[in-house]
């Protein structure tokens, strides 16, 4: 990247110095302003923006926009909360809840889970109220030596796939199928140990929830 210049932006009434060209989500997080996010990857030039949780209001935009896709610009004025933002985030979160095996006490990510963090920061409930819970019955894949994969806790953020492709550079896992059948899986949906996975564990570190977790020693 070229030598970075800085810009001044305003978030929730406070001014911050930001690296020009950085995506707003990361500027906010670096400065201690929390914006919910699951799928965002800082190094990715064109984020998938699929989790729909990082909505903010920016002056000059008619509707809320995703912070992970917006580059900071000189004089940008951002509000992280508004009625519309809260409604969008609340609905997206509840949809995730309706397709997620709850039960934090029995989850490997308890205490470091991004869903717990979002719920706490935004006063959202870790349960479904309006929506029916549609969690498939899928056994946990315990085939790797060091970690396990529990599909029922996956939020389809795609972070593991990105890391596997771009950091581990293996290409063992991907997001496959579509709609309610969409899932993170290997070629042919085999157990992970039966795929080209080298079990490096980089994807496990990238998982924001309890879907990929290290086995306890």
């Amino acid at each position: 990247m070229k030598i970075s210049r800085t810009v001044t932006i305003t978030i929730d009434g406070k001014e911050y110095i930001a690296k020009e060209g950085q995506k707003l989500l990361w500027t906010a997080l670096e400065n201690g302003v929390y914006i919910p996010h699951l799928c965002g990857i800082e190094e990715e030039e064109k984020p998938a923006a699929g989790c729909r949780l990082c909505f903010v209001e920016i002056d000059g935009f008619l509707n809320p926009v995703t912070a992970c896709t917006q580059k900071v610009k000189e004089g940008m004025v951002v509000r992280t909360r508004s009625k519309r933002v809260d409604k969008l985030v609340g609905t997206a979160f509840e949809l995730l809840m309706s397709n997620h095996r709850l039960g934090c006490a029995r989850c490997g990510a308890n205490g470091r889970c991004e869903l717990q963090k979002i719920a706490k920061e935004r006063g959202l409930k870790l349960k479904t109220s309006r929506l029916r819970s549609l969690v498939p019955e899928v056994p946990v894949d315990e085939s790797p030596d060091k970690f396990t994969y529990d599909q029922t806790r996956c939020v389809l953020c795609g972070r593991c796939v990105w890391v596997d492709h771009h950091k581990a550079k293996i290409g063992a896992i991907g997001l496959v199928r579509r709609g309610m059948s969409r899932k993170m899986a290997t070629f042919g949906e085999t157990a992970m140990a039966d795929s080209s996975c080298t079990q490096c564990g980089m994807c496990v570190e990238a998982c924001p929830v309890g879907a990929l977790t290290f086995k306890e020693k």
């Binding site: 492709h165 290409g171 063992a172 896992i173 991907g174 496959v176 199928r177 070629f187 795929s195």
Partner: protein, 177 residues
């Protein structure tokens, strides 16, 4: 799905032939997959692996695309093709119950083919005769207002051998649910 005798060789030849026509590159993926399916009738795993290697992308990326689009099938078309309509009208009149009945009878899931390749089962969107809902296309012939009880009849008509105890089992299954 188990490959038939000689099928692997056939796949390798056909796919190899197709791949020679394309330059390597990710953007060739869809046209290649379309051509493979056009030639072989479905996307066998072997073929997807060959495609991945030829255009130099991970196998799972080919699988991801092949399982995303409705136009691709991962299993060979059966000798008899059952297509259950899941359009709005058919869904509302119980299309999914008809699908369940076929799945139970054929012992395969939607999108699959029986081991003997006699039957394949898939869902289609509205086939244009909603007044006859729920509709099933049996080898492209319309079966109108299908009831679960009609499912056995359709399969018998296509020569499927039914277990003798089938009626009994079905009643049992029904009460459990």
């Amino acid at each position: 799905m188990e490959l038939l005798e000689g099928e692997l060789e056939q796949i390798q030849t056909e796919v190899g032939f197709i791949l020679r026509k394309y330059e390597p590159g990710r953007e060739q993926l869809l046209p290649i997959l379309q051509e493979v399916q056009g030639k072989i009738g479905y996307l066998p795993k072997e073929a997807m692996k060959m495609v991945a290697e030829a255009i130099n992308i991970p196998e799972v990326d080919v699988y991801s695309v092949g399982t995303f689009y409705n136009q691709f099938r991962l299993n060979p078309p059966g000798k008899n093709q059952i297509k259950v309509c899941m359009g709005t009208a058919c869904h509302l009149t119980g299309g999914h119950i008809i699908m369940d009945s076929f799945e139970r009878r054929l012992e395969i899931d939607e999108g699959e083919t029986t081991g003997d390749r006699e039957f394949s089962l898939e869902r289609v969107a509205c086939v244009g005769c909603c007044a006859l809902a729920p509709v099933v296309l049996v080898n492209e012939e319309v079966e109108a207002r299908v009831r679960p009880t009609r499912v056995d009849g359709i399969l018998l008509g296509l020569g499927k051998a039914m277990p003798v105890t089938s009626k009994h089992q079905k009643e049992e299954g029904d009460t459990i649910e």
